[in-house]
């Protein structure tokens, strides 16, 4: 998918093939650079097991980040993903603990996520409240709700078989990682090969023009929040399954990680430009950074300091490779 600004600045597409290629895949290049650096820093980094671990570790943020990509593509933002994930995690855990069947519990938890996403989307669209604020309110309220449903207590005693989703393996490959990869592929294809996907780019690029061109802008806007809600719900379910406990405080702060990953992946906060493949790479990049910090044993405060620096650095390199820093 077009994970970077399609040809912004590329005037004569022919003569710029190399630049275009670099622009399109610069994050992958950056990823390779990081992997090489990481490999030299720790001999334990470049092992199959570590990559499989990375896949599992990234999957929860990764699934959220797919939905976040959709929202950011239409120039919105969703701060409520972490809270919705926690709430959906609580719902699935409560239903399972109450003896419901796994598929039913999962479906209801997803519906809860989608429902809350709908509320944010509806409020922000119909009352033209900026999505930043609508989802900020949802973030606060949904977290309160997640705490309220069990009075702040975690929920234990989930069935063994439920843990397959988050902690299971097919061969050596983590199931959650596979789910993440498959969802990324599906989302990438949907963005490229369905009218719905193309319309999202239109709405993100210029909602007014999209409206005049007969795109039902409001529906598309609301839909991305529903998608983000459902995927956050799924992320929460996967997390609950992995941790074998439903925790109302789970995933707090996850929204900022997801947003950073989406932006690192080349999706523009201004909307209309980007894609989920870039997001996939962005999430991996962030995981690799923490992973290598942990492997080389960099102390925690330095981790934070460098995390910020590296995000900025990666973005600057992005621009640099794309030759866009000239403005």
């Amino acid at each position: 998918m077009s994970n970077v600004s399609i040809g912004t600045g590329a005037k004569k597409s022919r003569t710029l093939d190399l630049g275009y290629f670099l622009g399109k895949y610069n994050l992958l290049i950056l990823l390779v650079v990081f992997i090489i650096i990481a490999s030299t820093l720790s001999s334990r980094f470049f092992t199959i097991q570590n990559f499989l671990n990375l896949l599992q570790q990234s999957s929860v943020t990764g699934i959220m980040a797919i939905g976040m990509t959709f929202v950011i593509l239409v120039a919105g933002i969703d701060l409520s993903v972490g809270s919705i994930a926690a709430l959906s995690g609580m719902v699935v855990a409560m239903l399972l603990a109450a003896g419901w069947s796994i598929p039913l519990a999962i479906i209801l938890a997803l519906a809860a996520g989608g429902g809350l996403g709908f509320v944010s989307g509806f409020l922000s669209t119909k009352f033209s409240i900026p999505s930043f604020i609508a989802t900020l309110a949802m973030m606060v309220s949904a977290r309160g709700l997640a705490l309220l449903v069990t009075n702040g207590q975690p929920i234990y005693g989930l069935p063994e078989s439920f843990s397959f989703l988050g902690a299971g393996f097919i061969g050596r490959v983590p199931v959650s990682g596979l789910v993440w990869i498959m969802l990324t592929i599906v989302a990438a294809l949907a963005l490229k090969y369905t009218p719905y996907g193309r319309n999202l780019f239109a709405v993100g690029g210029n909602p007014e023009a999209a409206h005049l061109s007969g795109v039902r802008v409001n529906r598309h806007l609301i839909s991305v929040f529903v998608i983000s809600g459902i995927l956050s719900g799924l992320a929460g379910i996967v997390l609950t399954s992995w941790l074998t406990v439903g925790q109302p405080t789970a995933s707090s702060g996850a929204e900022l990680n997801a947003i950073a990953a989406v932006v690192l992946g080349g999706t523009s906060l201004a909307g209309g430009v980007g894609g989920v493949v870039g997001t996939f790479a962005g999430v991996l990049l962030m995981s690799i950074i923490t992973n290598i910090f942990n492997l080389v044993g960099l102390a925690s405060y330095y981790q934070q300091i460098f995390m910020g620096l590296i995000i900025v650095l990666a973005l600057i390199l992005n621009k640099f490779v794309m030759g866009e820093n000239a403005h």
Binding site: L147, Y156, L239, G253, T290, N294
Partner: protein, 308 residues
């Protein structure tokens, strides 16, 4: 098992040094920082290497961190879990890698070698009993208590709350107003207590789930010329709080010495590696600090009072 892992994990040329992995729930709090520092010092003293990771209060990150620690190669894991159950994936991974686990400060539900910690419920109860005393003694106690709570959904918060109520709820003359969650931080406690004092000017005693919040309440009381008139009880044995006890502005706190925890857990972890067996719970002990014994705990170099 453990010995084998140590062999495969230690670099070949270096002398065989034991590597202790420590997954700390957070390093944003002075308590856990002090615990970590003590653990580091003890490990160094014993010739072991301690590598630590900071979960930043995030259970997801904690599980990732531990996975990374195992990848990195450690001989024994010290774990302060952000949630007792949700570290199950890490416990499973450690078990698979034959790495023994010792938990500290907070227990886990899954089976581990041992747990070095304290009984927070008991600490809450100690605070509660002292509160009853301050308000007139068992059976006669009368008054209004404002309770400033820790973090929403936290295990420690619940224990300190439940323990406290075990003692005070028996007293018919005591009424407890439960305040909002202030996340153990002074700034939130100050704002909340300002409002609560406004709503309850007749308050007689403040109980907060840690001393930092109690000190926030003290700040508000001083501002309203009520310092010393309203009793204050906290938990943790923060040196700043203990120093305020002799002045009469602060009444009691419950010792929760992180240094001892840190030292004990490293010793225990090394013991586990040596094949020693321990009880499931190693109690690091606690005690009430009030005007009777405050003087002997004061030590300007420490952030938290040390156990005697």
């Amino acid at each position: 098992g453990a010995a084998k892992t140590a062999e495969t994990n230690a670099p070949k040329d270096a002398p065989k040094q034991v590597v202790i992995g420590f997954s700390q729930v957070t390093l944003d709090s002075p308590f856990y920082v002090s615990l970590m520092d003590a653990a580091k010092a003890e490990a160094e003293a014993k010739g072991a290497k301690l590598v630590y990771v900071d979960a930043q209060n995030n259970i997801e990150k904690q599980n990732k961190d531990i996975q990374d620690l195992i990848t990195k190669g450690i001989n024994v894991l010290i774990l302060n879990p952000s949630n007792p159950t949700a570290v199950a994936p890490s416990l499973a991974a450690a078990k698979q890698a034959n790495i023994p686990v010792v938990t500290v400060d907070r227990p886990t539900d899954g089976k581990v070698a041992t747990f070095v910690g304290r009984d927070n419920k008991k600490m809450g109860e100690l605070a509660g009993k002292e509160a009853v005393l301050l308000l007139g003694g068992e059976g006669k106690a009368k008054g209004k208590i404002i309770e400033l709570q820790g973090d929403a959904g936290g295990k420690v918060m619940m224990d300190r709350r439940d323990g406290f109520h075990l003692a005070v709820d028996k007293e018919p003359g005591i009424k407890v107003i439960q305040g909002p969650y202030c996340d153990y931080t002074r700034s939130k406690a100050v704002k909340a207590f300002q409002d609560l004092l406004q709503a309850n000017p007749d308050v007689n005693l403040v109980y907060a789930h840690n001393d930092d919040m109690s000190l926030g309440a003290l700040q508000v009381l001083e501002q309203n010329q009520l310092a010393g008139k309203v009793k204050i009880v906290g938990v943790d044995g923060l040196m700043e709080a203990i120093k305020a006890i002799p002045t009469g502005k602060y009444d009691a706190t419950v010792l929760n010495d992180p240094q001892l925890l840190g030292k004990t857990v490293v010793d225990t972890a090394l013991g586990v590696l040596d094949g020693k067996t321990y009880d499931a719970f190693i109690d690091a002990g606690t005690t009430l600090i009030n005007k009777d014994n405050a003087a002997q705990y004061i030590n300007d170099k420490l952030t938290f009072a040390a156990s005697k």
